[in-house]
Amino acid sequence: MKTEYMMGNKAIALGAIAAGVNVACGYPGTPSSEIIDSIAKANKDKAIHVEWSINEKAAMEVAAGASYAGARCLVTMKMMGLNVASDALMSLAYVGVEGGVVVVSADDPGPISSQTEQDTRLFAKYCRIPVFDPSSVEEAYRMVQDAFEYSEKYKTPVLLRPTTRIDHAYASVTYDETAKPKDVPGFVKNSKRFVIFPGLSRANHAMIEKRNPEIGEEFSDYAFNRVYGGKDVKKAVVAGGTGFAYAMEYMQGREDAKLIHVATPHPLPERFLLNALEGVEEVLVVEELFPYLEEELLMLAGKHKLSYKVLGKHTGNSPLSGEDTAEGVAEEIGVFLGEFTHEEERMKSTVEQIKDKLSGEVKTPPLAPALPVRPPVLCAGCPHRASFYAVKKAMKGRKANFSGDIGCYTLGNAMPLDMVDTCLCMGAGITMAQGLHWTDPDTVNFAFIGDSTFFASGMTGIANAVYNEADLTVCILDNSTTAMTGHQPHPGTGRNMMGDVVAKISIEGILKGMGLKKVITVNPLNLEEAVEAVRECAEEKGVKAILFASPCVALFKPEQKCTVTDRCIGCKNCIREIGCPAISVKEDKITIDALSCTGCNLCAQVCPVGAIEKEVR
C-alpha cells in the first residue's frame, strides 16, 4: 500500500484500478476529466484499455460491449454527458451487465463550469440503478470499488456521482499500487440475454423493480450509511454528498442531535433510515441540487405513517439552487437546532463591527472599494480571438448571426469581440444556425465549433445542413486539442490514451466527403488571409467551411513576443478591437505584458500606425 496526497479524480481512478478495471473510457468534461487522465498515466504496462471516446454515448457503448465479455469497465463524464449517454445507459440498465460497469457522472453544483445544475441521483432513480454519493476524496476511493462489487453482484450498471468539491479536492489516500486488471472470461454469445426486445424489457423491468428494494435492504448495512451524534434525540440532520461534509464540520462532537449520512440515495436504504429516525420529531435535510433525500423522506413518512416533520428545500430552510457553503449549512443547522435565528445571525456581524469600532480595536474601515469584475476571457495569444476577429471584420455592416458552441471559444462572447449570439449544448451551434437560417434566409449564418466538439457531435449537424440544403458557413476552430478541459487528445490529434501514435482523422477530408463544395484552411493569425476566406464563403450559397488552424497557446512555450514602440499614438485601437488580456494601459501608456504575450501578432495587425513589433524572446 502507498499513501499519496492526490486529487479526488485521481483517487477515483486509483480506486477503479484497485478494483481491477479492464476498460476505462469517457469524454472530457469539467469536473470529471482527470479520472481518465490519471488512469492513462498509471497504465504504464498498457494492461488496461484506456480511451477518450468520441463522446459519452460512444464511451457507454464501448463499456457495454466489454462488460458483456466479462470486463470491469469504468465510464466517466460530467453530468450533462450523462444526457448524451442516457440512450445507451437506459437500455443497458434493462439488459444488465456481466463484468462490473461503474459510470462516474460528476455533478457541478453552482454551476461552476456547466450549463445546468442537474442531479445525477435523480437520473439513477429514473434509470432504476444504484448510485453511490461520496462525501470526501477518501470515501470516493472506497466507493468506486464497492460500486464494482454491487454492479457484478446484481448484474447492473452502477452510478457514482461525485461533485466538483470532491473531484477537485485533494486529500491523502492510501491505495493499492500492486493491483492488476481482472481476468476477462470472454464473450459468451446469448442473444436471449444481450439483444434487447420488448419481451426482454418486460421481463427485466419486472425483475429490476423486485430487485431494487433488495439492494436498498443491503444498503441499509452499508458502512458509509452511518449515524453520528446523540441517541434518543428529537432532532436529526439527514445529509448526503458534500452536504454531509459541511454538516459534519458544524455538528462534530454534538450529542443533542444526530447526523444521518445517506451515502447510497438509490435504492433508498429504508431500514437504515427507519431505525435512525426512530423517536425523531424533526428532520433537516442538507443536500445540494435536487431535494432528493427530502422527497424520499416525505415518501417514507407517508408510506410508514410516521409523524416526523421534514425541513429542507421545499420548506424554504435551504436553497433550491446553487452550491452549498460551509457557513450557509452552518446557519441552516444552527437555526434548525434553535441556537439562533436567521435575523440574529445576520445582525451578529453588524454588532461585532460596532463593538470593534467602539473599542477602537480596528480603525473605521473606509467603504469597501468597488471590485473589478473578472469575467473569464480567451488567453493572451489565443488563436480563437483571431478567428472571431476575422469573421467580425469581414462581416462588418452585414446582417449576420454567430452561433457558438461548448468549449474555450464560448468566451468569444466577451466584449469587445461579442461574437457568440447563441450557445446551447455540444454540437448545437451548427444545427441552430440552420434553424436561424430557415427563419430569415437573408441573414448570413456562421457556426463556430472546436475540433474536439466537431468529432463529438458536430458531424451529424453538417450532414443535416448538406442534406436539407441550408446556407451556412461552419468555422472550425482547430487548435489541435481539447483545451477547455485540460488538453486531452482527440481523433484529429494523432495520439490516443494508450500512448500510441495513430492516424489523424482529417477534418478537411470529412467535410469534403460530406459534399461541402468549399472548404478553406487558413491560419487565423494571418488576419488578411483569414478575412478574405470569410468574405469568400459569405458570398456563396450552400454549406461552406473554414478551418481556422492554429495550435492552442497553452501547449507550447512562446518563442516571440510583441512590444509597443514609441510610434504608439495611444489611440487604444488594439484594446478596443481585440481585448487581449496581455495589453493594458499603464501610466497612460499602452503596454504589452511580456510574461503572457505569445507574439501572435494580431495586435500588430490591427494597429493603425504600425507601432507594435514582434521580437524573438
Binding site: Y246, E249, V377, C379
Partner: protein, 245 residues
C-alpha cells in the same frame, strides 16, 4: 484544532502550485490536510482560490467564512474579494501590484490596486503588503512570486513548517530544471518575511503557527538571505528618513 489558509489570485498566477507545496509539506510532516481548488472556466483570467485546511477536524472542502487564519492574496482586489473568509484577528499577505482585467482596459474605472491595500490597512492589523515585481526582481520574473510568498509567510511566522521541510518539498515537487530558482525564490521570501515580522511585532501570534526550526541554510542560501534582508532594511531606513526630513 485546524489552521485554514486561503490562497487567492487571478488565473495563471500559480496559486495552485503554492497550495500544492503547502499541502505536500503538511502531509510530509504528518499533519492532516485537505484542499480544494477552483479550476476550469475560472482559470481563463477569472478569480481563483485554493482552500488549504490543516488539522483533523476540518471536514468541509471549503473554508467557512470568517474561519481563515491566513489569506495569501496574489492580487490586491482578490484580497478584498475574499476578506469575508478571514477570521477575526487573522493575517493577510497581499501582493500590491494589480492585474487589470480586460474590462478595466476597455472601460477604465480607475482601478490601480492602491485603493485595495489602503482598505486592507484600515481593516487588518496583521497585514503584509508586498510588491511581487519588486520582491522577484532578482529572480528574473514575477512568476516565482507563488513560491516566494510561501517563504514570506514562513518568515513572518504564519506557517507551522520548517524551512527544511519546505525546501525539500520544493525540490521534489517542481520540475528539476526549476528547483534551484524556486528555492532561491523561497529564500528571498523568507528574508522579506522575517523583515516584515521585525517591523510588525504583532504579525505572528505565538503558538498559532509553530515557530520554524533553526535549520542552517547552505552558505549560498545564507548569503542570499542576508543580502535580501539587508536590502529591505536599507529601504526601510531610507523611507523612515524620508518621513523625518
Amino acid at each position: 484544532m485546524s489552521y485554514n489558509i486561503l490562497l487567492c489570485g487571478v488565473g495563471g498566477q500559480g496559486t495552485v502550485l503554492a497550495s500544492k507545496l503547502l499541502a505536500a509539506t503538511a502531509c510530509k510532516t504528518g499533519i492532516t490536510v485537505h484542499s480544494a481548488e477552483t479550476i476550469g472556466m475560472a482559470q481563463r483570467g477569472g478569480p481563483v482560490t485554493s482552500h488549504v485546511r490543516l488539522g483533523e477536524d476540518a471536514y468541509a472542502p471549503l473554508i467557512p467564512k470568517k474561519k481563515a487564519d491566513l489569506i495569501i492574496a496574489f492580487e490586491p482586489a482578490e484580497a478584498v474579494r475574499n476578506l469575508g473568509y478571514l477570521k477575526k484577528g487573522g493575517a493577510v499577505i497581499v501582493n500590491s501590484s494589480p492585474i487589470k482585467p480586460v474590462t478595466e482596459s476597455l472601460h477604465p474605472a480607475g482601478y490601480d490596486g492602491s485603493e485595495m491595500t489602503k482598505y486592507l490597512e484600515g481593516f487588518v492589523k496583521r497585514l503584509v503588503v508586498v510588491d511581487a515585481d519588486d520582491l522577484c526582481k532578482d529572480l528574473g520574473s514575477a512568476k516565482f512570486f507563488n513560491v516566494a510568498v510561501l517563504g514570506l509567510a514562513l518568515g513572518a511566522g504564519l506557517l507551522s513548517f520548517t524551512k527544511e521541510d519546505m525546501l525539500s518539498t520544493i525540490e521534489t515537487t517542481v520540475k528539476e530544471a526549476f528547483a534551484e530558482i524556486n528555492k532561491k525564490a523561497f529564500i528571498t521570501g523568507l528574508a522579506a518575511g522575517e523583515a516584515a515580522r521585525q517591523a510588525n511585532p504583532e504579525l505572528a501570534v505565538p503558538g498559532e503557527a509553530r515557530e520554524m526550526s533553526k535549520r542552517n541554510l547552505t552558505d549560498e542560501e545564507e548569503k542570499h538571505f542576508l543580502a535580501v534582508k539587508e536590502e529591505i532594511e536599507e529601504k526601510r531606513r531610507k523611507a523612515a528618513e524620508g518621513v523625518k526630513s
